[in-house]
Protein backbone atom coordinates (compact mmCIF):
# COMPACT_ATOMS: atom_id res chain seq x y z
CA UNK A 1 0.00 0.00 0.00
CA UNK A 2 1.07 3.51 -0.78
CA UNK A 3 0.96 6.42 1.62
CA UNK A 4 -2.67 7.20 2.45
CA UNK A 5 -4.22 10.18 0.76
CA UNK A 6 -7.28 12.12 1.78
CA UNK A 7 -10.22 11.34 -0.46
CA UNK A 8 -13.57 13.09 -0.37
CA UNK A 9 -16.56 10.77 -0.37
CA UNK A 10 -17.91 10.91 -3.90
CA UNK A 11 -21.19 12.37 -2.64
CA UNK A 12 -19.32 15.33 -1.13
CA UNK A 13 -18.55 17.64 -4.00
CA UNK A 14 -16.64 20.90 -3.70
CA UNK A 15 -17.97 23.88 -5.68
CA UNK A 16 -15.87 26.98 -6.05
CA UNK A 17 -17.31 30.47 -5.73
CA UNK A 18 -15.70 33.81 -6.41
CA UNK A 19 -14.77 34.40 -2.78
CA UNK A 20 -15.35 31.12 -0.97
CA UNK A 21 -16.30 27.56 -1.80
CA UNK A 22 -18.72 25.00 -0.43
CA UNK A 23 -18.65 21.25 -0.14
CA UNK A 24 -22.08 19.96 -1.04
CA UNK A 25 -22.89 16.83 0.96
CA UNK A 26 -25.41 15.38 -1.46
CA UNK A 27 -26.13 12.35 0.68
CA UNK A 28 -26.76 14.04 4.03
CA UNK A 29 -28.26 17.12 2.37
CA UNK A 30 -26.06 19.77 3.88
CA UNK A 31 -23.26 22.03 2.77
CA UNK A 32 -20.08 23.28 4.42
CA UNK A 33 -18.20 26.46 3.64
CA UNK A 34 -14.52 26.07 2.86
CA UNK A 35 -11.92 28.63 1.82
CA UNK A 36 -10.90 28.67 -1.82
CA UNK A 37 -7.43 27.54 -0.75
CA UNK A 38 -8.88 24.25 0.46
CA UNK A 39 -10.89 23.95 -2.74
CA UNK A 40 -7.61 24.16 -4.62
CA UNK A 41 -6.03 21.47 -2.44
CA UNK A 42 -9.03 19.18 -2.93
CA UNK A 43 -9.10 19.58 -6.68
CA UNK A 44 -5.65 20.42 -8.01
CA UNK A 45 -3.90 18.27 -5.43
CA UNK A 46 -6.44 15.46 -5.25
CA UNK A 47 -4.78 12.09 -4.81
CA UNK A 48 -1.56 13.55 -3.36
CA UNK A 49 -0.18 12.64 0.05
CA UNK A 50 -0.15 15.24 2.78
CA UNK A 51 3.64 15.46 2.50
CA UNK A 52 3.38 16.19 -1.20
CA UNK A 53 0.74 18.87 -0.55
CA UNK A 54 2.87 20.49 2.16
CA UNK A 55 5.75 20.55 -0.29
CA UNK A 56 3.58 21.94 -3.09
CA UNK A 57 2.90 24.98 -0.88
CA UNK A 58 6.59 25.26 0.09
CA UNK A 59 5.70 24.33 3.69
CA UNK A 60 4.14 27.77 4.13
CA UNK A 61 0.82 26.40 5.33
CA UNK A 62 1.65 23.02 6.89
CA UNK A 63 -0.41 23.69 10.00
CA UNK A 64 -3.45 25.05 8.13
CA UNK A 65 -3.43 22.08 5.77
CA UNK A 66 -3.44 19.66 8.69
CA UNK A 67 -6.35 21.60 10.20
CA UNK A 68 -8.23 21.54 6.91
CA UNK A 69 -8.06 17.77 6.71
CA UNK A 70 -9.04 17.43 10.36
CA UNK A 71 -12.12 19.56 9.63
CA UNK A 72 -13.08 17.39 6.66
CA UNK A 73 -12.56 14.20 8.59
CA UNK A 74 -14.50 15.47 11.57
CA UNK A 75 -17.51 16.22 9.37
CA UNK A 76 -17.14 12.84 7.68
CA UNK A 77 -16.70 14.45 4.29
CA UNK A 78 -13.83 12.19 3.35
CA UNK A 79 -11.42 9.55 4.57
CA UNK A 80 -7.78 8.53 4.46
CA UNK A 81 -7.36 5.96 1.82
CA UNK A 82 -4.57 3.76 0.47
CA UNK A 83 -6.21 3.05 -2.86
CA UNK A 84 -7.99 6.21 -4.04
CA UNK A 85 -8.24 4.78 -7.55
CA UNK A 86 -10.93 2.43 -6.25
CA UNK A 87 -13.17 5.39 -5.35
CA UNK A 88 -14.26 7.10 -8.56
CA UNK A 89 -16.32 10.28 -8.79
CA UNK A 90 -20.07 9.97 -9.20
CA UNK A 91 -21.10 10.15 -12.83
CA UNK A 92 -23.33 13.23 -12.82
CA UNK A 93 -25.36 12.27 -15.86
CA UNK A 94 -29.00 13.26 -15.35
CA UNK A 95 -31.96 11.63 -17.05
CA UNK A 96 -35.50 10.74 -16.18
CA UNK A 97 -38.28 8.76 -17.86
CA UNK A 98 -40.89 11.46 -17.20
CA UNK A 99 -41.54 13.99 -19.92
CA UNK A 100 -42.71 16.39 -17.22
CA UNK A 101 -41.43 15.92 -13.69
CA UNK A 102 -43.28 18.73 -11.95
CA UNK A 103 -46.18 21.08 -12.56
CA UNK A 104 -47.82 24.19 -11.17
CA UNK A 105 -51.57 24.65 -11.25
CA UNK A 106 -52.77 28.13 -10.33
CA UNK A 107 -56.28 28.80 -9.09
CA UNK A 108 -58.14 31.98 -8.17
CA UNK A 109 -61.77 32.79 -7.49
CA UNK A 110 -62.48 33.11 -11.23
CA UNK A 111 -60.82 29.86 -12.34
CA UNK A 112 -62.97 27.19 -13.95
CA UNK A 113 -60.47 24.38 -14.42
CA UNK A 114 -61.51 20.90 -15.44
CA UNK A 115 -59.32 19.22 -12.85
CA UNK A 116 -60.02 15.69 -14.03
CA UNK A 117 -58.85 16.53 -17.52
CA UNK A 118 -55.72 18.42 -16.40
CA UNK A 119 -54.63 15.77 -13.91
CA UNK A 120 -55.18 12.95 -16.39
CA UNK A 121 -53.06 14.74 -18.99
CA UNK A 122 -50.31 15.44 -16.49
CA UNK A 123 -50.37 11.76 -15.58
CA UNK A 124 -49.92 10.83 -19.23
CA UNK A 125 -46.78 12.97 -19.26
CA UNK A 126 -45.47 11.08 -16.24
CA UNK A 127 -45.70 14.06 -13.89
CA UNK A 128 -44.68 13.08 -10.35
CA UNK A 129 -45.07 16.31 -8.40
CA UNK A 130 -47.72 19.02 -8.45
CA UNK A 131 -47.99 22.33 -6.68
CA UNK A 132 -51.43 23.87 -6.50
CA UNK A 133 -51.44 27.58 -5.71
CA UNK A 134 -54.76 29.09 -4.69
CA UNK A 135 -54.45 32.87 -4.56
CA UNK A 136 -57.85 33.45 -3.01
CA UNK A 137 -59.42 32.71 0.36
CA UNK A 138 -60.11 29.00 0.40
CA UNK A 139 -62.33 26.58 2.16
CA UNK A 140 -61.78 22.86 2.40
CA UNK A 141 -64.43 22.50 -0.31
CA UNK A 142 -62.18 24.32 -2.80
CA UNK A 143 -59.48 21.68 -2.36
CA UNK A 144 -61.67 18.64 -2.65
CA UNK A 145 -62.26 18.57 -6.43
CA UNK A 146 -58.54 19.00 -7.06
CA UNK A 147 -57.52 16.26 -4.68
CA UNK A 148 -60.26 13.92 -5.88
CA UNK A 149 -58.99 14.34 -9.44
CA UNK A 150 -55.53 13.31 -8.24
CA UNK A 151 -56.70 10.18 -6.47
CA UNK A 152 -55.34 7.49 -8.76
CA UNK A 153 -52.53 8.86 -10.87
CA UNK A 154 -48.78 8.51 -10.79
CA UNK A 155 -48.30 11.68 -8.78
CA UNK A 156 -46.07 11.12 -5.79
CA UNK A 157 -46.51 14.51 -4.21
CA UNK A 158 -48.89 17.45 -4.04
CA UNK A 159 -47.91 20.73 -2.39
CA UNK A 160 -50.74 23.08 -1.56
CA UNK A 161 -50.28 26.84 -1.23
CA UNK A 162 -53.67 28.26 -0.34
CA UNK A 163 -55.22 31.51 0.85
CA UNK A 164 -56.42 31.60 4.43
CA UNK A 165 -60.08 31.13 5.13
CA UNK A 166 -61.72 30.50 8.51
CA UNK A 167 -62.36 26.84 7.67
CA UNK A 168 -58.65 26.13 7.29
CA UNK A 169 -57.93 25.09 10.86
CA UNK A 170 -54.92 22.89 11.58
CA UNK A 171 -57.32 20.03 12.33
CA UNK A 172 -59.19 20.42 9.04
CA UNK A 173 -55.95 20.53 7.06
CA UNK A 174 -54.50 17.56 8.94
CA UNK A 175 -57.65 15.67 7.98
CA UNK A 176 -57.17 16.66 4.31
CA UNK A 177 -53.58 15.40 4.39
CA UNK A 178 -54.62 12.19 6.14
CA UNK A 179 -57.27 11.47 3.52
CA UNK A 180 -55.23 12.47 0.50
CA UNK A 181 -51.86 10.92 1.13
CA UNK A 182 -50.27 12.45 -1.94
CA UNK A 183 -50.31 15.77 -0.08
CA UNK A 184 -46.74 16.55 1.05
CA UNK A 185 -47.17 20.02 2.46
CA UNK A 186 -49.83 22.63 3.01
CA UNK A 187 -48.85 26.27 3.28
CA UNK A 188 -51.61 28.76 4.08
CA UNK A 189 -50.83 32.32 3.01
CA UNK A 190 -52.53 35.56 4.09
CA UNK A 191 -53.02 34.00 7.51
CA UNK A 192 -53.70 36.21 10.54
CA UNK A 193 -50.56 34.90 12.23
CA UNK A 194 -47.67 32.71 11.22
CA UNK A 195 -47.26 29.32 12.76
CA UNK A 196 -45.82 25.97 11.76
CA UNK A 197 -47.55 22.82 12.92
CA UNK A 198 -45.25 20.00 14.03
CA UNK A 199 -44.94 17.52 11.16
CA UNK A 200 -47.35 14.61 11.33
CA UNK A 201 -45.93 11.07 11.63
CA UNK A 202 -45.66 10.85 7.86
CA UNK A 203 -43.62 14.05 7.63
CA UNK A 204 -46.40 16.23 6.21
CA UNK A 205 -46.01 19.86 7.24
CA UNK A 206 -48.84 22.37 7.66
CA UNK A 207 -47.73 25.99 7.97
CA UNK A 208 -49.47 29.34 8.20
CA UNK A 209 -47.80 32.48 6.89
CA UNK A 210 -48.90 36.09 7.08
CA UNK A 211 -47.46 36.86 3.65
CA UNK A 212 -50.03 37.61 1.00
CA UNK A 213 -49.44 35.47 -2.08
CA UNK A 214 -52.10 36.68 -4.46
CA UNK A 215 -50.46 36.28 -7.86
CA UNK A 216 -47.63 34.52 -9.70
CA UNK A 217 -45.62 37.72 -9.26
CA UNK A 218 -44.85 36.58 -5.72
CA UNK A 219 -42.74 33.75 -7.10
CA UNK A 220 -39.05 33.61 -7.95
CA UNK A 221 -37.60 34.26 -4.51
CA UNK A 222 -34.05 33.07 -3.96
CA UNK A 223 -32.77 32.36 -0.44
CA UNK A 224 -31.11 29.51 1.46
CA UNK A 225 -34.50 28.18 2.58
CA UNK A 226 -35.02 27.04 -1.01
CA UNK A 227 -31.59 25.46 -1.41
CA UNK A 228 -31.82 21.79 -2.32
CA UNK A 229 -28.70 19.78 -1.60
CA UNK A 230 -29.21 16.44 -3.27
CA UNK A 231 -27.67 14.37 -6.00
CA UNK A 232 -30.54 14.59 -8.47
CA UNK A 233 -30.86 18.36 -8.27
CA UNK A 234 -27.09 18.82 -8.39
CA UNK A 235 -26.78 16.57 -11.44
CA UNK A 236 -29.76 18.18 -13.16
CA UNK A 237 -28.37 21.64 -12.44
CA UNK A 238 -25.08 20.93 -14.20
CA UNK A 239 -26.89 20.72 -17.53
CA UNK A 240 -30.37 22.09 -17.12
CA UNK A 241 -32.36 24.88 -15.59
CA UNK A 242 -33.25 23.73 -12.08
CA UNK A 243 -36.55 25.57 -12.02
CA UNK A 244 -37.95 25.21 -15.52
CA UNK A 245 -36.52 21.93 -16.80
CA UNK A 246 -39.43 19.53 -17.38
CA UNK A 247 -41.87 21.85 -15.67
CA UNK A 248 -45.30 22.64 -17.05
CA UNK A 249 -47.82 25.09 -15.65
CA UNK A 250 -51.45 25.93 -16.06
CA UNK A 251 -52.21 29.44 -14.87
CA UNK A 252 -55.40 30.62 -13.21
CA UNK A 253 -56.98 31.39 -16.61
CA UNK A 254 -56.05 27.97 -18.00
CA UNK A 255 -53.14 29.22 -20.11
CA UNK A 256 -50.48 26.56 -20.58
CA UNK A 257 -47.03 27.94 -19.81
CA UNK A 258 -43.60 26.84 -18.71
CA UNK A 259 -44.15 28.85 -15.56
CA UNK A 260 -47.12 31.06 -14.72
CA UNK A 261 -44.80 34.05 -14.34
CA UNK A 262 -43.57 33.78 -17.91
CA UNK A 263 -45.50 35.76 -20.52
CA UNK A 264 -45.70 33.16 -23.27
CA UNK A 265 -48.78 30.92 -23.46
CA UNK A 266 -48.90 27.77 -25.56
CA UNK A 267 -52.66 27.71 -25.69
CA UNK A 268 -55.50 27.30 -23.26
CA UNK A 269 -55.95 23.96 -21.58
CA UNK A 270 -59.63 24.07 -22.61
CA UNK A 271 -58.62 23.72 -26.26
CA UNK A 272 -55.04 22.46 -26.37
CA UNK A 273 -53.89 19.14 -24.94
CA UNK A 274 -50.87 19.48 -22.68
CA UNK A 275 -48.77 17.18 -24.82
CA UNK A 276 -49.39 19.39 -27.89
CA UNK A 277 -48.32 22.46 -25.95
CA UNK A 278 -45.23 20.60 -24.80
CA UNK A 279 -44.42 19.61 -28.37
CA UNK A 280 -44.31 23.21 -29.56
CA UNK A 281 -40.83 24.09 -30.64
CA UNK A 282 -39.89 26.64 -28.02
CA UNK A 283 -41.75 25.22 -25.02
CA UNK A 284 -38.52 23.73 -23.74
CA UNK A 285 -36.25 26.57 -24.93
CA UNK A 286 -35.38 27.69 -21.40
CA UNK A 287 -34.85 24.18 -20.05
CA UNK A 288 -31.20 24.07 -20.99
CA UNK A 289 -30.12 27.41 -19.52
CA UNK A 290 -27.95 26.23 -16.64
CA UNK A 291 -26.24 28.16 -13.88
CA UNK A 292 -22.85 27.96 -15.56
CA UNK A 293 -24.26 30.20 -18.31
CA UNK A 294 -25.91 32.81 -16.09
CA UNK A 295 -24.10 36.01 -15.19
CA UNK A 296 -23.02 36.20 -11.53
CA UNK A 297 -24.60 32.79 -10.77
CA UNK A 298 -21.74 31.16 -12.66
CA UNK A 299 -19.36 32.56 -10.02
CA UNK A 300 -21.56 31.57 -7.10
CA UNK A 301 -20.69 28.66 -4.80
CA UNK A 302 -24.41 27.85 -4.40
CA UNK A 303 -25.03 27.42 -8.13
CA UNK A 304 -25.85 23.70 -8.08
CA UNK A 305 -27.97 23.69 -4.92
CA UNK A 306 -29.95 26.85 -5.66
CA UNK A 307 -32.96 26.63 -7.94
CA UNK A 308 -33.07 29.28 -10.63
CA UNK A 309 -35.67 31.75 -11.85
CA UNK A 310 -35.89 32.89 -15.47
CA UNK A 311 -39.08 34.90 -15.08
CA UNK A 312 -37.75 37.78 -12.99
CA UNK A 313 -34.36 38.89 -14.25
CA UNK A 314 -32.04 41.65 -13.10
CA UNK A 315 -31.78 42.72 -16.74
CA UNK A 316 -35.02 42.08 -18.57
CA UNK A 317 -33.31 42.29 -21.94
CA UNK A 318 -30.73 39.62 -21.06
CA UNK A 319 -32.00 36.06 -20.79
CA UNK A 320 -28.73 35.12 -19.10
CA UNK A 321 -28.84 37.69 -16.32
CA UNK A 322 -29.06 36.94 -12.62
CA UNK A 323 -32.47 36.37 -10.99
CA UNK A 324 -33.70 39.76 -9.82
CA UNK A 325 -34.98 38.40 -6.51
CA UNK A 326 -31.57 37.07 -5.45
CA UNK A 327 -29.63 39.39 -3.20
CA UNK A 328 -26.54 37.28 -2.69
CA UNK A 329 -23.27 38.67 -3.97
CA UNK A 330 -20.72 35.88 -4.54
CA UNK A 331 -17.93 38.43 -5.00
CA UNK A 332 -18.28 39.64 -1.41
CA UNK A 333 -19.92 36.46 -0.09
CA UNK A 334 -22.64 38.60 1.50
CA UNK A 335 -26.40 38.64 1.38
CA UNK A 336 -27.49 42.23 0.82
CA UNK A 337 -30.32 42.70 3.27
CA UNK A 338 -33.47 43.60 1.34
CA UNK A 339 -35.70 46.40 2.57
CA UNK A 340 -36.83 44.89 5.86
CA UNK A 341 -35.49 41.37 5.96
CA UNK A 342 -32.37 40.04 7.56
CA UNK A 343 -30.94 36.85 6.14
CA UNK A 344 -28.31 34.61 7.54
CA UNK A 345 -25.38 33.44 5.50
CA UNK A 346 -23.93 31.36 8.29
CA UNK A 347 -26.30 28.43 8.19
CA UNK A 348 -24.55 25.34 7.02
CA UNK A 349 -27.26 22.75 6.98
CA UNK A 350 -30.66 22.43 5.55
CA UNK A 351 -33.05 19.95 7.09
CA UNK A 352 -35.22 19.33 4.08
CA UNK A 353 -36.01 15.69 3.55
Amino acid sequence: MTEPVFTLFACCIPVRGARRSVICDLQRQSFHFIPNGLYEILTEHAGESIAAIHAAYDHQYDEEIVEYFAFLEQHELGFWCGDPGRFPAIDLHWETPERITNAILDVDEHSDHDYGKILAQLDDLGCKALEVRCFHRCGVGDLRPILEAARCGRLRSIDLLIGFGPELTPEALAAVAAEHKRVSSIVVHSAPESRVQPPDPRGVVVAYRTEVIDSPRCCGKIHPGYFTVDLETFAEGRKFNTCLNRKLSVDARGEIKGCPSLPKSYGNVRDVPLHSALAQRDFSALWSINKDQIAVCKDCEFRYICTDCRAYLSDESDLYSKPSKCNYDPYTAEWQPPAEERTSAGSSTKGES
Binding site: N102, A103, I104, D123, K128, A129, L130, E131, R133, R151, C152, G153, R154, L155, R156, S157, D159, L161, K181, R182, S184, S185, V187, H189, P201, R202, G203, V204, R209, E211, I213, C218, C219, G220, K221, I222, H223, P224, G225, Y226, T228, D230, E232, T233, T242, C243, K247, C259, T307, C309, E341, R342, T343, S353
Partner: protein, 68 residues
Protein backbone atom coordinates in the same frame (compact mmCIF):
# COMPACT_ATOMS: atom_id res chain seq x y z
CA UNK B 1 -41.50 -0.05 24.60
CA UNK B 2 -39.42 -2.26 26.84
CA UNK B 3 -41.79 -4.95 27.96
CA UNK B 4 -41.62 -8.70 28.16
CA UNK B 5 -43.18 -9.13 24.70
CA UNK B 6 -40.00 -7.63 23.28
CA UNK B 7 -38.07 -10.79 23.99
CA UNK B 8 -39.50 -13.23 21.48
CA UNK B 9 -37.03 -15.94 22.41
CA UNK B 10 -38.15 -15.85 26.03
CA UNK B 11 -41.71 -16.33 24.83
CA UNK B 12 -40.86 -19.60 23.07
CA UNK B 13 -41.80 -22.83 24.80
CA UNK B 14 -38.95 -25.03 26.06
CA UNK B 15 -39.42 -27.16 22.92
CA UNK B 16 -39.42 -24.04 20.75
CA UNK B 17 -36.24 -22.77 22.36
CA UNK B 18 -34.54 -26.06 21.71
CA UNK B 19 -35.50 -25.94 18.03
CA UNK B 20 -34.48 -22.33 17.48
CA UNK B 21 -31.03 -21.53 16.08
CA UNK B 22 -28.74 -19.37 18.19
CA UNK B 23 -29.58 -16.18 16.23
CA UNK B 24 -33.11 -16.35 17.71
CA UNK B 25 -31.58 -15.40 21.05
CA UNK B 26 -30.54 -12.06 19.55
CA UNK B 27 -33.66 -10.90 17.76
CA UNK B 28 -33.88 -7.11 17.66
CA UNK B 29 -37.36 -5.77 18.41
CA UNK B 30 -38.46 -2.46 16.96
CA UNK B 31 -41.79 -0.69 17.07
CA UNK B 32 -43.62 -1.29 13.80
CA UNK B 33 -44.86 2.28 13.57
CA UNK B 34 -41.44 3.92 13.39
CA UNK B 35 -40.29 1.71 10.61
CA UNK B 36 -43.22 1.69 8.27
CA UNK B 37 -45.13 4.95 8.25
CA UNK B 38 -45.23 5.83 4.62
CA UNK B 39 -47.75 7.61 2.50
CA UNK B 40 -49.16 4.77 0.44
CA UNK B 41 -51.88 5.35 -2.12
CA UNK B 42 -53.71 3.63 -4.94
CA UNK B 43 -52.23 4.16 -8.37
CA UNK B 44 -54.58 2.60 -10.88
CA UNK B 45 -52.52 2.69 -14.08
CA UNK B 46 -49.73 0.91 -12.26
CA UNK B 47 -52.03 -1.37 -10.28
CA UNK B 48 -50.25 -0.57 -7.05
CA UNK B 49 -52.23 -0.37 -3.84
CA UNK B 50 -49.19 0.72 -1.92
CA UNK B 51 -47.76 3.30 -4.29
CA UNK B 52 -45.16 5.21 -2.29
CA UNK B 53 -45.52 8.98 -2.06
CA UNK B 54 -42.75 11.35 -1.02
CA UNK B 55 -42.04 15.06 -1.20
CA UNK B 56 -40.56 16.35 -4.41
CA UNK B 57 -36.85 16.93 -4.02
CA UNK B 58 -36.83 20.63 -4.94
CA UNK B 59 -39.18 23.57 -4.59
CA UNK B 60 -41.70 23.74 -7.43
CA UNK B 61 -42.45 27.42 -6.92
CA UNK B 62 -40.70 29.95 -4.70
CA UNK B 63 -43.33 32.33 -3.34
CA UNK B 64 -42.41 32.37 0.33
CA UNK B 65 -39.86 34.62 1.98
CA UNK B 66 -37.19 33.26 4.25
CA UNK B 67 -38.17 32.37 7.78
CA UNK B 68 -36.45 34.26 10.54
Amino acid sequence: MADERDDLFARLSPAGQELAPVIYRFLVPSPLRDATIMRLVESRPYRAGGYVCASFRKPISKCCGQDD
